[in-house]
């Protein structure tokens, strides 16, 4: 849309030869100088919002300081930038980054970032020692319980340096250190009892890259190192009675320190104006060799290692070539080899008895994947182009176990395949570069199969086709249409549908049988006038999975065949309106509504004597109800320009989140409680959370 304005070029012409005048002219400067802004304000949430405030540092009712700043300056003579970007300074999610850059020469940056995750569930527990490595679970279950809020905080600092060395070379170096502290929901693995994982760890990352960029040849190589340090290593949990006497000690391990070192080279060469070849080689050596902690009084197998000597080597070899062979035809070919090879020495960890009926060895695994891809695109008249391609991936999966006896591997719980092959064919028709209608339709078909399954430790375990290695036929269709209906109105349609069918047989009948996923989306953007714009979108998505399995006799439940028909359905609607009410008053409105329904119907066909669900101690089971989550968020804002460089912005948000999630409920809807005679912990969330946000900010912009 043509906008009328007095041509600045005319002024430029008029002032030609008076460069100084041009530099200081505010009209020119406004359009050509980097902009800075500072925003200061206060906001108030009317109620706690544990779910929707999980990550924004504002999950509790109250007043919050709002301070953001972007200082963006450039010295034109030297090309030196100073950028300070500070956000959320009044919140626990504060972050800032300062960068000093002499463009074309060198630069440095430093940054600080906090990220919080406030657990949306409230814990009511009498478990002692939360946050420490010594936790005590009450027995008998406590009648006096306290409210506990779990959560984690990540606090990171980073810095970096870059230098252009000349001749096409440049060097970049960065470091980052992040502390993570807090607690998260966990379990006392000896029994279904509550515990909270104490988190107090640090990660460090360092990367240095030397790069050369020339007109036809580019290459970069470098080192990436990462280190994980856990300040906790073993959690001692035990029951504790009213007299303070502990019993049933139980030790829970934690992740141990690990580190990884990667060397990599990545390059590309333009063989001609139309043809380019690239490669990448990367090798990573990761280790974990911290002393393995053992709880006081805990028996270990005599041959068990005290240090794992854990080693994981990862190798990537990748090469590709792309060519625009003619003005109408282009193609690409690529080959990728990725090897994830754990080289940890195999050792016996558990051997309770000489007979080795329940021995446990560590399980170093190796996954090698070789992927080849060939794809061609032919461009026709009127912006039409057709793409066809084929991709084949072969994965070789090392089988580390060796104690197969009597036809089964005593340590294997899931069937394994030594080889997986998957071939994907895809075709696509696109119409681009058109004035009013652009779009594409794409179809792909992939087929996965593999070698024979290796036997597991029992016949039941061997009857399943694990989802990630099962035979699978996958059909996917995508349709996208971008239609400029009339000048102020554009519509975008998007439809995606995928259907998976998993292989099964009479001898291996269980696992996922089939599933499908669909997404339909419609976006509209409408320019009501030069001052008002309206946009809206709606998306419907649906995922279904049919899962087939067996159920053994257990606690009064009969042997049965199960068929679960899992379904997730989502409907999401968004709308936005932006406009100018008065010359100095801008306003906006946003709506987001989301509804998700999860269904868990399961057919249980009994094939023996017993009940549909287990029964123990008078407690039985019930089918899983549907879960519905809805979220509505309405946002209004208005900004009034006090001066050309400053404005006052008022924001209002109303949000509602509702759920009937049964995750922490008994069948009758009452709050789930851990244990029977011990613990007594409850975890809950408010099924409806409504809150209002009102904020006022003063924003000052300058150059």
């Amino acid at each position: 849309m043509k906008k009328f304005a007095f041509p600045l070029s005319a002024m430029s012409l008029a002032l030609a030869g008076t460069a100084q005048a041009q530099e200081v002219d505010p009209a020119i400067a406004e359009l050509t100088r980097p902009e800075s802004a500072v925003s200061v304000g206060l906001g108030y949430w009317s109620k706690d919002r544990p779910r929707l405030g999980t990550y924004d540092g504002m999950n509790q009712k109250g007043l919050y300081g709002l301070f953001d700043a972007l200082i963006n300056t450039r010295d034109d003579r030297t090309g030196t930038w100073f950028i300070l970007d500070a956000r959320n300074l009044g919140l626990s999610t504060m972050e800032m980054r300062a960068e000093w850059l002499r463009q074309g020469n060198f630069g440095v940056f430093a940054e600080y970032n906090r990220m919080v995750r406030d657990e949306p569930y409230t814990v009511f527990t009498a478990v002692q020692g939360i946050g420490t490595q010594t936790q005590r679970v009450p027995t008998p279950s406590a009648t006096t319980i306290g409210e506990t809020h779990l959560g984690t905080m990540r606090e990171a600092i980073g810095a970096g340096f870059s230098k252009i060395l000349g001749g096409g070379y440049d060097f970049r170096f960065s470091v980052k250190s992040e502390d993570k502290t807090g607690d998260r929901l966990w379990g006392r693995g000896g029994a279904p009892e509550f515990a909270a994982e104490p988190i107090d760890s640090n990660t460090r990352q360092m990367e240095g890259i030397l790069a050369y960029v020339g007109k036809t040849f580019q290459i970069q190589g470098g080192y990436y190192g990462s280190w994980y340090t856990n300040h906790n290593s073993l959690v001692d949990t035990a029951n504790i009675n009213a007299a303070g006497v502990t019993s049933n000690p139980f030790f829970l391990s934690l992740p141990l320190d690990n580190q990884a070192h990667q060397l990599f080279v990545n390059g590309g060469y333009n063989l001609s104006e139309r043809t380019r070849a690239t490669f990448k080689v990367a090798y990573t050596h990761a280790t974990q060799d911290e002393q393995i902690p053992v709880g006081a009084g805990v028996a270990t197998f005599a041959g068990a290692p005290t240090h794992l000597d854990g080693q994981l080597d990862t190798t990537l070899l990748q090469a590709g070539i792309t060519s625009r062979a003619t003005s109408n035809f282009s193609w690409l070919a690529s080959l990728r080899y990725y090897d994830s090879n754990e080289r940890t020495p195999q050792a016996r960890i558990v051997q309770p008895a000489a007979g080795c009926g329940t021995c446990v060895d560590n399980t170093p695994l190796r996954f090698e994947t070789l992927t080849g891809k060939l794809e061609g695109t032919y461009r026709m008249a009127q912006g039409l182009s057709a793409l066809a391609g084929v991709e084949h991936a072969r994965q070789e999966r090392d089988v580390p176990f060796g104690n197969v006896a009597a036809g089964v591997d005593a340590q294997r719980y899931v069937p394994w395949r030594a080889k997986i092959d998957e071939t994907t064919y895809r075709v696509e028709l696109r119409r681009a570069l058109a004035e009013t209608v652009n779009g594409r339709i794409a179809y792909s078909f992939s087929q996965r199969d593999g070698s024979e399954f290796t036997p597991t430790n029992e016949i039941q375990s061997d009857l399943i086709n694990p989802i990630h290695i099962a035979d699978r036929d996958r059909n996917k269709v995508k349709l996208m249409l971008d239609w400029a209906v009339i000048e102020p109105l554009t519509l975008t349609f998007n439809v995606e549908y995928a259907k998976d069918e998993y292989g099964h047989s009479d001898s291996r009948p269980y696992g996922l049988r089939d599933g499908n996923a669909s997404v339909f989306s419609l976006d509209a953007a409408y320019s009501i006038s030069e001052k008002w714009q309206l946009s809206a979108w709606y998306t419907h998505d649906n995922t279904k999975a049919n899962q087939f399995g067996q159920r053994n006799v257990n606690n009064g439940a009969a042997e049965a065949v199960k068929e679960a028909h899992l379904e997730d359905t989502g409907d999401t609607f968004g709308a936005g309106l932006r406009g100018m009410i008065l010359p100095k008053l801008r306003a906006g409105f946003d709506l987001l509504y989301s509804k998700n329904v999860n269904r868990y119907p399961e057919t249980i066909t009994l094939v023996g004597a017993g009940g549909t669900f287990p029964t123990a101690g008078g407690v039985t089971g019930a089918p899983l109800p549907d879960i519905t989550n809805t979220m509505t968020r309405i946002k209004l804002h208005a900004a009034y320009a006090l001066q050309k460089t400053s404005e006052v912005r008022v924001e209002y948000t109303h949000e509602i989140w509702k759920t009937n999630d049964w995750s922490w409920m008994f069948a009758d809807g009452s709050t789930f409680t851990y244990g029977t005679t011990t613990d007594g912990t409850q975890v809950s969330q408010a099924p409806k959370q409504t809150a209002d946000w009102l904020a006022v900010r003063y924003i000052y912009r300058f150059q």
Partner: protein, 310 residues
């Protein structure tokens, strides 16, 4: 344009008109080297505003690498000097707008002439490039603010095509994307050529940059953790705690068909119990006991050590 600046401009133009023809001097560049031939017509009030490029690194003239208008748009001779027989002014050699006829590869080629290295080394192999996405499909060059390069606004660009991810990030359990603490490019190198266009060479290597405690190797490994986090997790958002793709026990039963309690049906218990065949769905489901599901470092001489319970 304010009224004051309009007066200034009017006076300037007036001075120009009043000046004797012989006093005219060569048109002066406003922003970029050699831009005078462009800015004589194009400016911020034009249909194609151009001057804001001066606010960006592309407009930093102290850097000798800074391009001119023709570096990207081509010499555009017929656009600058409209042929006498042309009914309307021909377009520049290369244009980048929504209705441009310039082939996508050529549009991106203009950028890659300088930006082919580093993260864009494999651009031509990427799913974006082969699906006719050009740099200018996502980036705003003639603007002081490029939304796709700011993590608080980046998703607006990505979600214009990736509709499924737009709804997933708004589900109750998600990475902090809508909160502006992460963006698509926290995990994805959208200019890269690896599968799923990730910032590292695989799904696991990408996840481990923030979740390094899952890297192990553990005394007792859970194989999917080394193979691919996405076997169990949906990183863009779900309705299930811990970003799981399905709830336990159904998720676990996609691989596990063991006898006894692991084969249980999905169920809610009617009351307090420690019977594990009634606790596979409620609370943390199977993870009520198999709590160290990503891997365990226990060497206790107990069979349960290998089942992620210690």
């Amino acid at each position: 344009m304010t009224r004051l600046s309009g007066w200034i401009l009017g006076l300037a133009l007036g001075a120009l008109v009043m000046a004797p023809a012989g006093a005219q001097q060569p048109r002066k560049d406003m922003v970029l080297n050699g831009d005078a031939q462009c800015t004589r017509c194009h400016n911020e009030g034009d249909e194609y505003p151009v001057l804001a490029i001066a606010k960006t690194k592309h407009g930093t003239m102290a850097d000798a690498r800074t391009p001119s208008c023709t570096s990207c748009h081509g010499a555009s001779e017929t656009h600058i000097n409209r042929p006498a027989n042309a009914t309307e002014r021909p377009k520049p050699d290369r244009t980048f707008g929504k209705h441009s006829k310039t082939p996508m590869a050529e549009r991106s080629g203009a950028c890659l002439a300088c930006h082919q290295g580093t993260k864009r080394m494999d651009w031509q192999l990427s799913a974006h490039a082969t699906r006719d996405v050009a740099c200018s499909s996502c980036h705003k060059i003639h603007s002081g603010f490029d939304p796709v390069r700011d993590k608080s606004t980046q998703t607006d660009t990505c979600f214009s095509c990736h509709k499924e991810q737009r709804v997933q990030v708004n589900r109750p359990v998600h990475h902090p994307i809508v909160e502006g603490k992460m963006s698509c490019s926290s995990c994805h190198n959208v200019h890269g050529g690896n599968p799923k266009q990730l910032v590292r060479d695989s799904v696991t290597e990408t996840c481990f940059t923030c979740h390094m405690e899952k890297r192990g190797p553990f005394v007792h490994n859970h194989p999917p953790v080394q193979e691919d986090c996405a076997i169990c997790h949906q990183p863009h958002g779900t309705t299930i705690p811990s970003l799981l793709k399905a709830r336990p026990p159904f998720l676990c039963q996609e691989c596990h068909s063991h006898s006894s309690h692991p084969s249980q049906a999905g169920t809610l218990p009617s009351g307090r119990t420690t019977t594990n065949s009634l606790l596979g769905s409620v609370a943390r489901g199977c993870l009520n006991c198999h709590t160290n599901i990503h891997g365990s470092n226990s060497t206790q001489n107990s069979a349960t050590s290998g089942r992620f319970r210690r």
